[in-house]
Chain length 147, copies 2
Amino acid sequence: MHPPTARDEALAALRGMGERVTAPRAAVIEVLAGTAEHLSAEEVAASARGRGHDLHLATAYRALKTLSSLGLVRHTHLPGGSTTYHLSTSAGPRAHAHAACTSCGKVVDVPEEWLDDLVRRVRSEQGFELAPHHAALTGRCADCRPA
Amino acid sequence: MHPPTARDEALAALRGMGERVTAPRAAVIEVLAGTAEHLSAEEVAASARGRGHDLHLATAYRALKTLSSLGLVRHTHLPGGSTTYHLSTSAGPRAHAHAACTSCGKVVDVPEEWLDDLVRRVRSEQGFELAPHHAALTGRCADCRPA
DNA sequence: CACTATGACGCGAACCATTCGCATCTGCAA
DNA sequence: TTGCAGATGCGAATGGTTCGCGTCATAGTG
């Protein structure tokens, strides 16, 4: 009935780090564990409300920030100012960067290893440690790209 | 006295594209031509005011958007929501991408050719045409990076 | 198992960067 | 010189996110 869920894993991790396990935090984790999508804070709050939890937007932001700083959640800044969140469980999808289409807004996943050379180069020559998944790349997707 | 300035070059280009040459647009170009920095819209407006031009912030945004769409100005989205603008003249600095430190906010320039392999790969395998200079990469700079 | 204090929550207001609506003004082609 | 498409100035609106503050609950303590 209950395969070991990403949800339980994350909640256990939360507790293990000495953080409080509160209803809003659990709701956020539950929502993120229940989808493969990248959700905005607003979507997280809405989805939590749809499941019967009453989650204020500001609280969703706070929970997401906390979980991010603990490493349980990853967030990606999209051009246009919005931010998307997803769980970073061991069982989750492989690490990937994002590329957002400036025309239609579509986001495609870019395998993180495609960025390895760049990361190495920037590190060795500029001492800068890139976090490639943290901000989306931009460009034009196949559909919007000029011929 | 007057070497052919980036300012004149840009103004001529504006005119040549059949666009109106207005005082606000000229002021924006003048400000951007007068610095090697990347400026925010607010900084552009402030700097223009400092030079005696009266430039409303909304107008600065409109001018910057117009100039961007014409290719005379490039803009880069930084994490945190702000955007920086710089002239994209032939005489300007070499094309480069940006990497912003999530800790101290410092922005370092990354040679665009370091991204060539990535761009090629994403294009050939996903049909997505990256514009690497358009959004800043993120990470930790040499000073803020954990040892 | 009750008690308490630390830290989270809920709420609305505040904030920041950016955009919009609209009346007015102006560059530039005729 | 004139006409008008299009640009400006202004303030108000928007979208995303954070803050202040009074209230409430988790989790360690006795």
